[in-house]
């Protein structure tokens, strides 16, 4: 029997945002990434064309991260000691872009300096042509000092600078504005808080076309249901026409999944958890896939095998659909 399918037509649309600039646009990137532009719920090909596929970013650090899971150290190996080599390796496993997360201290325990951060960023930019995001260590004063130096030294590259949070966003936004970069705005799993921060940032005169929002997601088993629903609600608000939520979403399933005990710890855990390595990769992959279904545009991952699996899932989710 012929079926009249239910096709949602929404008044709103997510902004399309391009990360990275090629030489033609004043940067040095060999490729750029464009995300957003959705006029429908995730992968609802029957409602609207899906203009851009979600992308996978690989998170790297400016120095060897002692607190990362031994499984990550084992798979990346020596490159983890050098951000440029690590970035190249990440490109090699299929990253669409790189997220460089700066550490609070150098390997000798001294606070990371602006010069050190700039050197790390420059080395990554020289090693790979992929677009880049640079996140501070998460301490307001240090973040500001490092990110301002990085932004100035990379003017015109259209980096994503983060993280802007409600308690610390002005300096980062100002330097992104002055140096032609983008920002990532992070809020804790709440539609209104996300919207509020976007308003505060745009009130500074910063264009919404240069803001990504990070709604914070939680990992599988550690609150992902809150992140999942916050993201679904944010995307619904955007489609319903709420200008301040019409931004692509960047999420960090790698960070979230790899801090859980399930991924971090291999011994002394219940037998029912199964093989450590496979479980950890599943933890990251399942977290990422659930967030894709909720509307993620950029997924920041850590393990190469998760990158492979999530990219395969994205390719399959972008396959054209014949409904009838």
């Amino acid at each position: 029997m012929p079926i009249e399918f239910v096709k949602d037509k929404w008044p709103g649309k997510v902004r399309s945002i391009t990360i990275g600039a090629t030489a033609a646009d004043g940067g040095t990137r060999s490729t750029t990434v464009t995300v957003g532009g959705e006029k429908s719920l995730p992968f609802m090909h029957s409602d609207s064309e899906i203009p851009y596929r979600p992308v996978v970013a690989v998170e790297i650090k400016d120095r060897f991260p002692e607190d990362w899971s031994a499984l990550l150290a084992e798979t990346w190996g020596e490159v983890m000691k050098d951000p440029a080599e690590w970035a190249k390796a990440a490109e090699g496993v299929g990253a669409d872009m790189i997220v460089l997360a700066l550490s609070a201290t150098d390997k000798d325990g001294a606070p990371t300096t602006p010069a050190g951060a700039v050197a790390a960023v420059k080395s990554v930019l020289a090693a790979t042509g992929l677009p880049l995001a640079v996140f501070g260590p998460g301490q307001a004063e240090l973040d500001n000092a490092l990110l301002v130096a990085v932004a100035e030294a990379t003017k015109g590259e259209r980096l994503v600078l983060g993280l802007c949070e409600d308690k610390n966003y002005r300096t980062i936004v100002a330097t992104a504005m002055a140096n032609d970069h983008l920002v990532s705005a992070r809020t804790p799993m709440d539609v209104n808080l996300a919207k509020q921060l976007n308003i505060l940032i745009s009130d500074m005169g910063f264009p919404l076309e240069r803001i990504l929002m990070d709604p914070t997601t939680g990992a599988l088993g550690y609150g992902i249901e809150y992140g999942f629903s916050a993201m679904e609600r944010l995307r619904l608000a955007a489609l319903q026409g709420d200008n301040m939520t019409q931004l692509p979403m960047i999420v960090t399933p790698g960070f979230e999944a790899w801090k859980t005990k399930e991924s971090k710890v291999g011994s002394g855990v219940p037998e029912s958890w199964g093989d450590w390595k496979e479980r950890s990769i599943n933890w990251e992959t399942l977290t990422a896939v659930a967030l894709l279904e909720a509307g993620a545009d950029i997924l920041v991952l850590r393990h190469p095998e998760s990158v492979r699996r999530v990219k395969a899932a994205i390719a399959d989710l972008m396959a054209p659909v014949e409904l009838a």
Partner: protein
């Protein structure tokens, strides 16, 4: 569309005869609207009202229940597209595929391991729901395989074969239960429907388009088989999202009965299994059993199907871990169940005795509660007083989660004479912190 209690009341006899077991017709109507009673309880309702009410009273997505000796798996009865609109009700049953051409010993080993599998998550015992026995083409082998599975587990079954003769042999091997017959298709549906009817089994219906699927369910329903399960036979993750969403939209928004049934999915990898949970499958058949996938999938299912209105909480209070004495350390966290169990499990696993004070943060995690103003210095200080903590511990020292280090100063003000220590951000780092810093 669902009718309100008042709308239903108008169609009832309005005699308050009480024969339905309720004091008034209105009370009965309210229960009908809430889908807590059956209309059949009213002996006097008119045929016309009966037809109208039956139409509106049936849930837009039919509830299908598979049963076996001591077990039940339910799917359907869902009422929303997004969990935040209300909640998702019936967690998709997760079944493990068993191949009939395996030896009885292999089948026994596989089914025993998967059937006995349980894993603890925030105090809940999670387990797999049943087995899907796939025929190889030989009826006798299928019957033997079904018997071999039954010899190792009593959990509900899905029987897989497109050949009615083979299916009949499998069904004959079962007694007094409701399995799912997989599957009726455009070629075999009459014989499969007869078998399902004869054995009172639920029937999966498979077709390559939703239109064909709707045709088939209508024809099968006309034969008297109503416990149907949809197999849209999706060929990609994208077609699965679109088809599953259309099925649910049509059922909920258009009350389209021909697709008002739960669905079944056969994920081929981790990603498609995760998607089946997030996007509307009612039954999920995994190709094989592996704890490293079963555990995260069961947790994902638990998370997605948690009622957003009722975060899983533990009772606020002062918990004793590893028999603490008065001089042992005092830690504080929130009453969100995931948070509590993460912390309690780490402390317990460390073997170190400690007092764990659980503050009432309205069931939110540390960061979320802090952001929402539900886990601040005032609340922590209040908990210290409410639970008479000072009478239990001899050292006035409290360890707060690293994520709320910012509360230290205020808490010193709220708890004069107490030493405030900042612990690690993540529970997993607690044992080393406790060993080194406390």
């Amino acid at each position: 569309m669902a009718l309100s209690g008042i709308q239903i009341y108008k169609m009832l006899p309005q005699t308050n005869c009480k024969e339905c077991g309720f004091p008034t017709c209105l009370a009965f109507a309210m229960k009908l609207a809430a889908k807590q009673v059956e209309l059949a309880a009213c002996p006097y309702v008119s045929e016309e009202s009966k037809a109208k009410l039956a139409e509106s009273a049936t849930p837009p997505i039919r509830l299908v229940t598979l049963k076996s000796d001591g077990f039940e798996v339910k799917a359907g009865n869902e009422v929303v597209l997004f969990r935040h609109e209300k909640t998702f009700y019936n967690k998709p049953g997760i079944f493990i595929k068993v191949r009939a051409d395996a030896s009885p010993e292999e089948i026994k080993a596989q089914v025993t391991a998967a059937g006995a599998y349980t894993t603890n998550y925030v105090g809940l015992e999670l387990f797999l729901d049943g087995f899907a026995v796939e025929a190889s083409g030989d009826a006798q082998a299928f019957a033997s395989a079904v018997q071999a599975v039954r010899g190792a587990s009593h959990k509900p079954l899905i029987l897989i074969s497109r050949d009615p003769a083979v299916m009949a042999a499998g069904l004959d091997a079962l007694d007094g239960e409701v399995p799912l017959v997989y599957a009726a298709d455009p070629g075999n549906w009459e014989a499969m429907a007869d078998l399902a009817k004869q054995h009172k089994a639920a029937l999966a219906v498979s077709a390559s388009t939703l239109e064909e699927l709707a045709d088939l369910t209508e024809k099968i329903k006309a034969k008297g088989v109503e416990d149907l399960v949809l197999d849209p036979d999706s060929q990609s993750l994208s077609s699965s999202v679109v088809q599953q969403t259309q099925i649910r939209r049509l059922a909920l928004k258009k009350n389209f009965k021909a697709l008002g049934y739960p669905s079944i999915a056969f994920p081929t990898d981790e990603a498609s299994a995760a998607q089946a949970i997030a996007k509307y499958a009612g039954f999920i058949v995994l190709d094989h059993f592996a704890p490293e996938l079963a555990y995260p999938l069961l947790v994902l299912r638990q998370n997605i199907y948690t009622d957003p209105q009722k975060p899983i909480q533990v009772q606020p209070g002062l918990y004793e871990i590893n028999n603490p004495k008065a001089e042992d350390p005092l830690l504080v966290t929130t009453n969100f169940s995931i948070t509590y169990f993460s912390v309690a499990n780490e402390v317990e696993g460390s073997g170190l005795p400690a007092w764990l004070m659980v503050a009432d943060a309205e069931g939110m995690s540390v960061l979320t509660a802090w952001a929402a103003g539900k886990f601040d210095a005032e609340r922590i200080a209040k908990a210290v007083k409410t639970f008479n903590v000072a009478d239990k511990v001899s050292r006035k020292r409290i360890v707060i989660p690293g994520h709320v280090a910012v509360l230290s100063g205020e808490l010193e003000g709220e708890l004069p004479g107490w030493e405030i220590r900042v612990g690690p951000r993540e529970a997993v780092d607690l044992p080393s912190f406790m060993k080194q810093a406390l």
